[in-house]
Symmetry: C2
Amino acid sequence: MTAPPAPEMRAEGFAFAVQARDGRARAGLLQTPHGEVETPCFMPVGTKATVKAVLPRDLAELGARIVLANTYHLYFRPGVATVAAHGGLHRFMGWDGPILTDSGGYQVFSLADTRVVREDGVEFSSIYDGSRHVFTPDLAMAVQEALGADVVMCFDECAPGTATRDEVAAAVARTTRWAAACRTVQTRRDQLLIGIVQGGVDETLRRRSAAELISIGFDAYAIGGLSVGERGAEMLATVDLMDGLLPADRLRYFMGIGDPSGIVDVIGRGVDVFDCVLPTRMARTGTALTRRGRLNLRNARFGEDLAPLDETCDCVACRGFTRAYLRHLVMQKEILGAQLLSLHNLRLLVGLAADARAAIMAGRFTDFTNDVAERFSAGGRPE
Amino acid sequence: MTAPPAPEMRAEGFAFAVQARDGRARAGLLQTPHGEVETPCFMPVGTKATVKAVLPRDLAELGARIVLANTYHLYFRPGVATVAAHGGLHRFMGWDGPILTDSGGYQVFSLADTRVVREDGVEFSSIYDGSRHVFTPDLAMAVQEALGADVVMCFDECAPGTATRDEVAAAVARTTRWAAACRTVQTRRDQLLIGIVQGGVDETLRRRSAAELISIGFDAYAIGGLSVGERGAEMLATVDLMDGLLPADRLRYFMGIGDPSGIVDVIGRGVDVFDCVLPTRMARTGTALTRRGRLNLRNARFGEDLAPLDETCDCVACRGFTRAYLRHLVMQKEILGAQLLSLHNLRLLVGLAADARAAIMAGRFTDFTNDVAERFSAGGRPE
């Protein structure tokens, strides 16, 4: 299959092209001012400008190409001025590759229990010191422009899985209004702005949200509002729907999915990029993702197990250490345990996306999907 | 200066030669079955078979050549059988270079407040679960042989700085008796056994301890019983004394010194190898050792400081990150902060020892000493 011509982007220094398709799965290439990203791509999460317990050079070595950082957290600690004084996040966190920042919307809605949603934004209490703040589309964009990531996100409202249809509809309306505002106030031309589609698992609202965002026009689209407690079948049906609604030639980002089978499910439905804190969070509690399911290293059965975490893995942890040693580190709360398990879990997901890409390029994505479903059978959805 | 012939060692596969002298400072070369160690040499501490927060490959990259692990801790967690099942510590902890294990003596005496000292050993309660145990020279040797380090230590009694002269004298007598027992029960010929000189800061007891251990005959000698609260001048006077008592052609190991000026002080008094938990422990509380003194990164003045920790340092932390970023990591309790500060602090001390070696080889150790005393003036003794 020959690659179709890439659409022109508003953001300068960027391009995205779908290079191959296999069924609905896509292999693509995103070009950014800080380098190329082959898709499908798993994006490690560096919440506070650090992928927890992982040195940037090790992140590059394991194949990660783009990392995510959280506007909400960086706004409060260390504050925008400190990052800006470094010339932006790349220099601040020592990562030369592409960076994506979210808008803070997700945290404002999920972390604050004393929020007041207003037409122009959200008033809430900081989780750091309880002080009152207002996030608006203008502020979210100004902060993201100062943080200086390559890819930035519209300020949106992600309704929780428990929201009523009216609440989801209101969130869709606000998300559209705020997306338009973000587009309007954007001043940097060297940042790719992503529009986020909301609407929960309601088809009508999803269609509305997608149509309104496409009408504003973005270089890339995110599928937000999923992985918030809905059933797996509803989630997948919604991704199916989105595949038919989003422009075929634009990058698609699924926010927050990190279990191996779920990743393959969304790749198979046309998603290009995804992220999750799962691999690093699980690592810090002693759980390894493997191609044969999850291993909880606190389990005594690993005490004398001289095998690597995953025989098929080429990561630092699997090449040099046994399950027995890693269990020892976990049980003794040694930092090295979190380091090695983080490197392994990230390598597994980054490698899974790379394997999916290779399968798509070779036209054998269906076989790959079946193989993953079988091998990761003990995996399941994120905890 | 031509190197004198190296003395024959009892341990097979080992050799030590003093390659150059400058005043009383020595540059030497220790050969082991797992590689060479150039001295003077700072030995990072890997208490529970991990130098905390540092990957073995990064330890090698920063120039560390030999690491220490603690018999006491490994005896209880994960237990000797687990390490032995790996074929020993090298494979267990993923470190191909030389390893030294202590005997457990220091921990038995310093950690247990319910110990009973007997002629044949010490009965004490484990800090892990309170269970009662007896460590003897026989057990300490059997455990160290199973752990499989290159260099092992005699089971000794390190009297605290508050001990009376009678108590120190009793500790010296037991240390001699136990050293003889360790020599007798040793079965592995491929492990270098170090005799430990005790005697606090009492000249008569030091002379007695040294004479008795030399009479038993060891391949190398450790200066124990210092850095336990004595005054700096007493400590240095004791090292001066030891320099005249220990065989000039044998490796000398000062147990537990990690502040830069103290390290240079003991190198200048004929010490070849030393260790300390200081660099990694300080790293985990946010303190950096630098060539201009210590930096407590919790101090607000580093909040906007775009300089590296130490302009003259070539470590990963100094090459890639600012003080402001490292402070952010420390304040947010990010694991990466402990990782980067550990790499830096270890690199500083490993590099300091390497610089001392170069100065000795070039016959300019006095200048080096004066330079260090001036540069590290804000350093002081370990906290």
